[in-house]
């Protein structure tokens, strides 16, 4: 299997198995991490999540759209060290408000149906991250990268 396909498949498999990601934003250089429920597009170009607009993370990404995400399969067991797969994504985040919003939100709620009430609140934003690069770590220290071609 070509390396690109191999890494892409590993990432998609991980994204299918996981609901949550750690989102990193910053405020004046101070990093800030938060937990979000995510959905990735099949082509891996975009990752979506919802958040109240009153949150620190939303304020931070409104000032600087550069963000990072960490998604991993660890189970809080010692075997994680050799078994877990972890992906870091870097990209730019922006609120989605255009005509695609309804369709994307429906897809998002298809994955996280229990968040319907929360996500449909007028104070909640649907945020899309345009991914730039993926960094996949497995076998404890093996790191492979996928970069989205412009």
């Amino acid at each position: 299997m070509p390396k690109t396909d191999e890494v892409q498949k590993l990432i998609l498999d991980l994204f299918t198995s996981q609901n949550l990601a750690v989102l990193c934003t910053h405020r004046e250089g101070q990093p800030y991490a938060s937990l979000i429920a995510f959905l990735a597009s099949d082509d891996l170009k975009n990752i979506f999540f919802v958040t109240p607009k009153t949150t620190r993370k939303f304020a931070n990404l409104s000032v600087d759209s550069r963000v990072a995400l960490l998604i991993n399969s660890s189970t809080n067991d010692v075997s994680d060290f050799h078994q877990a797969v972890s992906v870091t994504v870097v990209g730019r985040a922006a609120e989605i408000s255009g005509p695609d919003r309804t369709e994307i939100l429906n897809q998002y709620l298809g994955r996280h149906p229990h968040l319907e009430e929360f996500a449909k609140s007028p104070t909640c934003a649907l945020v899309g991250i345009a991914a730039k690069s993926y960094y996949l770590v497995k076998n404890f220290q093996r790191v492979m990268e996928l970069h989205i071609n412009e």
């Binding site: 078994q83 404890f140 790191v143 970069h147 989205i148």
Partner: protein, 732 residues
């Protein structure tokens, strides 16, 4: 939880926790058979030990560094060595130790015992683990017993056991190990009995030796052999052997020594005793309901059973497993000593003679037909020596491993490869070559005019003494243009030697042994001081053997390269003639014979496909951290120089990182220029790793696709402590 139980306490459901051997012994004891006193250290003790000490995850990390199927045997040996060292250096948690100590001391007092492996999957009807895990005989005193329990646990992860478990599809990580501790019965004679012969199901077989049966079981002492009729219990055939050795207990362990004359003349069993052994074995077959493979010993005319297991050769005859091959990778000291003598006294002188004899022939004066014959002859000679290389030289490499194991057992070093420091500086041929190169480079370094002449390609004008020395180098090692030592003019550009010399001269000299030091002498002293008397002599002999093994791993390639160079020389002469003649009728007809011989023999080109950026793809793949084996400590950063073929070598620049499929001895002349070494082929004791350590360079081996994923010019960081190669810079 019970960490240790007596054979009499074993319940029918206990097989998983006492293992195959322990369970069979408990059943024998329960059936009223005469077995030595036995305790079983349960597999739960093993599980608790690896959980509490953190070894369970450390083993998993070790086994998951990379895909198991991508590991070569040498990497698996390295993996096994590191794991074994973890067991040697991690003592038992006090809770387990106390429980074991009290029960074992109470049961055996100060009597010597046997500490045997008893894997839960062992000795069932489908898989035989015989010989894959360790057993230790004549172990005395609680401290020694506890240490040997850990050694038996570690043998769950021996290279042969890992390979075998993988092959028969056992989940390696769920593996466990129980240990049997038995009072040693030092019999006058011992042996094995097969109630059903693998060759004839109407017959059974007994094999016997004087003394302990370990020599027989390990295959180092040849036994007398009886074939018996299963039904009538009569002896059908008896084959005596020339009895020379026996295995007997010595201070703390066992030893193979010369058999006293009066015993050498006497069969270990008389007919009556042979029949009584067979009777007992047949009773066991009836008791267990299947043909048995029984180990036994006679002491003071009393027959003791040491173990009994179902015969697996019947079942595995058609399973085509490779267990015997895995086991053959391990050679005894005696075997290696014989091999060394053969290599040093017969094979290497013969290789030198062959190469000298071939180089005396004047190829230019041969007719085309004679040249074609000469090429075929040289091809056959080369082929013969390549086979000898695999059959004799490669197994001899095990001398280093055997020494490593003994060193680690005695010294318990933090670094399981500390022993390699004792083996360096053994006068390897490729180091002698590099030293000659360095001397030549030094003269260029200190002579501006000479440097200028070489740089400008005006070599003939150079100092005749210098040129004569260059010629001596070429005579001895070739002009570095060929992929084998001793070859010349393989590249159209005939200046690789001068190119390399200039590059070396442009930088300060890089002498081997930056790291080596007096440490080696210190380690040697400390190692030898652990032995006394006869044992010290043995340890010295083993070290000497290991040093020869280490040196030969390098030199054998050099000698083989010289023979291959003679073949290449003849091939080049043929090519020159074919190219020189064009298509004139007569010439073309004769050249056809030469062309045929070249077509017939030219199988050596390998296809390679370096990773290339795919245009118009949505993603671009980049490697970042590649994981291999830490094969030479140190950290270095530099631009990669990927060597796909020998002709890439003259482009090597000082300070670059050598990235290749496998460093062979015929390319090590660039190693003194390199900042670090990275190779696909894995192992701590392979050539690239050995030579990198000689020069104190960081080295990572065993990176699959190293030459495809890394490209010349890539910035790479080589972490030789962790076995990690990082490609590119920190920028996202």
């Amino acid at each position: 939880m019970k960490w240790v139980i007596s054979a009499s306490e074993v319940e029918p459901s206990d097989r998983p926790r006492v293992g195959g051997k322990g369970f069979a012994l408990a059943r024998l004891s329960a059936g009223g058979f005469s077995v030595p006193q036995t305790l079983c250290v349960t597999s739960q003790a093993y599980q608790e030990y690896v959980a509490q000490t953190g070894l369970r995850e450390r083993i998993s990390l070790e086994l998951h560094r990379k895909e198991f199927k991508e590991m070569r045997w040498e990497e698996i040996w390295d993996c096994a060595t590191r794991i074994r060292n973890m067991f040697l250096t991690k003592t038992m948690p006090s809770e387990i130790e106390t429980a074991l100590r009290e029960t074992i001391e109470r049961r055996f007092k100060n009597r010597p015992v046997v500490v045997r492996s008893s894997a839960p999957e062992e000795d069932d009807k489908t898989a035989s683990f015989a010989g894959l895990h360790e057993s230790y005989l004549n172990i005395q005193g609680i401290e020694a017993i506890l240490e040997h329990v850990r050694k038996v646990w570690a043998s769950l992860w021996s290279d042969a056991a890992l390979l075998y478990r993988q092959e028969i599809g056992l989940d390696i990580e769920r593996s466990s190990m129980a240990v049997v501790i038995q009072e040693i019965v030092v019999g006058e004679c011992s042996g094995v009995a097969f109630t059903c012969s693998p060759n004839n199901d109407q017959q059974g077989v007994i094999e016997s030796v004087h003394g302990l049966n370990q020599g027989l079981v390990d295959g180092v002492i040849e036994p007398d052999r009886w074939v018996l009729d299963r039904r009538k219990r009569t002896i059908l055939d008896y084959t005596p052997v020339s009895r020379k050795y026996w295995m007997i207990p010595v201070n703390d362990g066992i030893q193979m020594t010369a058999l006293p004359d009066e015993l050498a003349q006497k069969p270990p069993l008389d007919d009556r005793s042979a029949r009584s052994v067979f009777e007992m074995a047949m009773r066991l077959e009836q008791y267990f309901g299947a043909p048995q493979d029984v180990e036994w010993t006679f002491r003071n005319d009393r027959l003791y059973l040491l173990q009994s297991r179902p015969i697996t050769t019947l079942a595995s005859a058609d399973s085509n497993d490779q267990r015997s091959w895995y086991l053959s990778l391990h050679r005894s000291f005696e075997n290696l000593k014989g091999l060394r003598q053969k290599i040093e006294e017969e094979l290497i002188p013969a290789m030198i003679a062959v190469s000298d004899q071939l180089s005396a022939a004047d190829l230019k004066n041969l007719s085309d037909s004679q040249l074609a014959k000469e090429i075929r002859k040289r091809w056959e000679i080369n082929h013969k020596w390549v086979n000898i290389y695999w059959e004799e030289f490669i197994p001899f490499a095990h001398g280093v491993r055997l020494f490593g194991q003994v060193y680690n057992d005695v010294m318990h070093p933090e670094d399981p490869y500390e022993f390699v420091d004792l083996l360096t500086d053994t006068g390897m041929a490729s180091l002698a070559r590099n030293q000659m190169l360095e001397d030549l480079a030094d003269r260029i370094r200190n002579n501006r005019q000479l440097a200028k002449q070489i740089k400008n390609g005006d070599v003939p004008a150079a100092d005749p003494v210098f040129l004569a020395d260059v010629e001596t180098f070429i005579q001895r090692f070739g002009d570095l243009s060929c992929a084998m030592t001793g070859g010349t003019q393989c590249l159209e550009d005939s200046g690789p030697l001068f190119k390399i010399l200039l590059e070396m001269a442009n930088h300060p000299p890089s002498a081997p042994g930056k790291r080596k030091s007096q440490k080696a002498a210190e380690f040697k002293k400390r190692f030898l001081s652990c032995f006394e008397g006869g044992k010290r002599k043995q340890a010295e002999e083993l070290l000497d053997l290991a040093r020869a093994s280490y040196r030969l791993r390098d030199d054998d390639n050099i000698y083989l390269g010289k023979i291959e160079a003679r073949l290449l020389e003849a091939v080049q002469e043929a090519r020159r003639r074919i190219e020189g003649r064009g298509s004139e009728e007569e010439g073309a007809a004769v050249s056809g014979e030469l062309k045929n011989v070249l077509d017939d023999l030219d199988h050596r080109s390998k296809e390679r496909s370096p990773y290339q950026k795919q245009p118009d793809q949505p993603f671009e793949f980049r490697p970042r951290q590649l994981i291999g084996q830490p094969a030479g400590p140190g950290l270095a950063r530099g631009k990669a120089r990927v060597i796909e073929q020998h002709s890439d070598l003259p482009d090597f620049n000082h300070g670059e990182v050598l990235v290749c499929d496998a460093v062979d001895p015929n390319m090590t002349f660039v190693v003194p220029l390199a900042a670090a070494v990275v190779e696909r082929r894995g192992g701590m004791l392979i050539h690239g790793a050995i030579i990198a350590r000689e020069y104190g360079l960081p080295c990572v081996t065993g990176i699959p696709d190293a030459t495809a994923l890394i490209q010349t010019g890539d910035q790479v960081t080589v972490d030789g402590y962790l076995g990690i190669v990082t490609v590119g810079t920190e920028e996202l």
